[in-house]
């Protein structure tokens, strides 16, 4: 489970930061905690909105992508430190990354109180409508006498304290799983497969679902073609060269933009021979047109896209119908991002990995045999053959997209 940790102090020396670092290190097998830096956040002021600044955007993205947040608060004047309150103000003004986010509160203090009053204030603050976090109820971790609580390596000395902390974290993991399950239900439903929301690159004035969208849209924007050069990130190619290149990649590639519009595939096979059967007339279509009107499929597509859009994971992979003894077809969906890290759509590829498996077996002298104890699960899906949807058309039906997203399916650990 991916968590972010926020130490509510910007002091030169902070025991609350130390506590979070200890949690990150000691419970690394249980949770993956990224301790955020809040030192350089400017003072919140309504006259000078800095929501778009890199320092705040970084906090927003990390919190949004996390499964939960652990806040370690000191107590200043019977309340939370101004530095902590300050970031919550930024993160409840124009953006709301804490919305529906599971939060666990811990705290350390020099005396016996363990920041008890600050923790209560923090609970009230996190419940404010603009913040709307969901705080783990009924559990408090108050670390008193903090000056003598750690050894020289920054480890908590008292085993009973560690055990208690572990049981609280375990409760929080369960809590976060449940809250996120509810949250996901809500958020994926908002995914607009009709692509009406538009985006910076959406070509206006041409019907997306028009069979000749490609020609009409190209004309509309005076798209270059043929031997015109295009400067790329690390190369210079003509449009023709780009096409030669993409068409010889022996993997079916599909580009769906952040508006859920299907805008490209590398057509190197006739439709009937493809793993994911696409047609030229579908280019430009919104995803609900590409997919058949089967609510189950629509739901799965929404879930996959939303998982990528919200940064829960960078990569969703699954086996799809059509595999047999000679083929093992995999579909991969990877989130694309621009230089600033904004979501830019899905890079989908379909590939038969059987030749790779065969090559591996040949090289290692091994054979494929059935495992009688094999448990089919969503992540492997290897031996699973869901019923094939005859009408699934251009796109595959994801086998079981309600994948449990966790660190192991993530291409990059943030």
């Amino acid at each position: 489970m991916k968590l972010v940790g926020i130490a509510g102090s910007i002091a030169d020396q902070s025991y609350n930061r130390m506590l979070l670092n200890f949690i990150a290190k000691h419970f690394a097998g249980l949770v993956d905690v990224d301790v955020l830096n809040i030192n350089d956040v400017p003072m919140f002021c309504q006259d000078d909105d800095q929501t778009d600044s890199p320092v705040i955007q970084d906090l927003v993205k990390k919190i949004q992508a996390a499964d939960g947040v652990i806040i370690a608060t000191p107590e200043h004047n019977h309340s939370v430190p101004a530095a902590l309150k300050n970031i919550i103000e930024w993160l409840s003004y124009e953006v709301h990354p804490f919305d529906q986010k599971p939060v666990m509160i811990v705290g350390a203090s020099y005396h016996v109180q363990g920041s008890s009053r600050a923790q209560l204030h923090l609970r009230q603050i996190l419940e404010a409508p603009g913040v709307n976090a969901i705080v783990l109820p009924g559990n408090e971790f108050l670390l008193g006498d903090v000056k003598s609580a750690f050894d020289d390596e920054g480890n908590l000395k008292d085993q009973r304290t560690i055990d208690f902390l572990q049981s609280t974290i375990q409760k929080f993991i369960k809590f976060a799983e449940v809250i996120n399950m509810i949250g996901q239900t809500n958020s994926y439903e908002d995914e607009d497969l009709s692509a009406k929301k538009g985006t910076d690159t959406t070509i206006e004035g041409v019907d997306m679902n028009d069979e000749n969208w490609l020609d009409k849209a190209s004309k509309k924007v005076n798209a270059v073609e043929g031997d015109t050069y295009v400067k790329l990130d690390s190369g210079l190619l003509t449009v023709n060269q780009l096409n030669y290149f993409l068409k010889t990649i022996p993997i079916e590639l599909t580009y769906v933009d952040e508006n859920n519009q299907f805008i490209y595939y590398n057509r190197f096979l006739p439709t009937k021979d493809m793993l994911a059967k696409r047609t030229p007339a579908q280019v430009g279509d919104s995803l609900d047109t590409v997919h058949p009107e089967i609510s189950r499929v629509i739901k799965h597509v929404k879930q996959v896209i939303n998982t990528l859009r919200t940064g829960k994971t960078d990569l969703v992979s699954m086996a799809v119908p059509g595999s047999d003894d000679k083929h093992h077809v995999m579909h991969y969906y990877k989130a694309m991002h621009d230089e600033e890290g904004n979501y830019k759509g899905v890079n989908e590829w379909a590939v038969d990995i059987k030749p790779i498996v065969d090559q591996y077996l040949k090289a290692t002298g091994q054979k494929l045999v059935k495992d009688p104890n094999a448990q089919v699960d969503a992540n492997s899906g290897a031996s699973e053959k869901p019923s094939v949807d005859a009408t699934s058309g251009a796109s595959e039906e994801p086998a079981k997209p309600e994948v449990k997203v966790d660190a192991t399916t993530s291409a990059s650990k943030h």
Binding site: F44, N77, A82, K85, N86, H111, Q124
Partner: protein, 202 residues
């Protein structure tokens, strides 16, 4: 005539809490001299090894020490006082203790109907902490709801009922300041305790 420091709890250029204090300054000019203080520009409170306190905070502390009392008008951000005000109060209790036994009147304004009630109740708790130890006027709240519509073109409160309530509370506050002067038996001890309350062992 009594001298009060009035702290505008917002760092925003347009603030109905500032309007409220400006109104009080004008409305009560025959009863007290009220000096408004802005908190914008003070950095976020940070504990440092050398215990640095910004010069502006030190100056503000001196003005509070010299005053007969303090009026604070707080907005409510996320059910609590703004970070900018919280930060100011933290500086004013970091090695300096101008609030110890200082009479304080809490007021607040908000756009909605609640008039910053939650922020005011947290502020009460904050001012009661050992490092601040202010003498907050008890059983008294002035919650100005719908503050965008509360003032006329001259900056005067439109509602007679609210004006009457504020008049009464201010009269109470003047008396509370007098009474507070007699509640000074523990003053030396309180001062001493606040000073002993070192942030790095506390």
């Amino acid at each position: 005539m009594k001298k009060f420091i009035a702290i505008v709890g917002s760092n925003s250029a347009k603030s109905t809490n500032r309007e409220l204090l400006e109104y009080m300054q004008k409305h009560f000019q025959n009863q007290a001299e009220i000096e408004l203080v802005e908190i914008k520009g003070l950095p976020i409170f940070k504990k440092s090894i050398d215990k640095y306190v910004p010069k502006r905070a030190l100056e503000l502390a001196n003005r509070i020490e010299a005053a007969d009392g303090v009026i604070i008008a707080t907005p409510e951000y996320d059910h609590s006082i703004p970070a900018a005000l919280s930060s100011t109060l933290a500086w004013l209790s970091y090695g300096i203790h101008p609030f110890v036994d200082k009479p304080v009147m809490i007021t607040g304004a908000s756009y909605g109907s609640l008039g910053s009630s939650r922020a005011q109740s947290q502020l009460r708790q904050i001012l009661d902490s050992p490092e601040l130890k202010a003498r907050i006027m008890p059983s008294s709240e002035f919650l100005l709801g719908h503050s965008l519509q509360a003032f006329d073109d001259n900056g005067d409160l439109k509602s007679e009922a609210e004006t009457e309530q504020l008049d009464g509370l201010f009269k109470d506050f003047l008396q509370f300041v007098d009474i507070s002067e007699q509640l000074n038996h523990a003053n030396d001890v309180n001062k001493q305790k606040a000073e002993q309350f070192s942030w790095d062992i506390g």
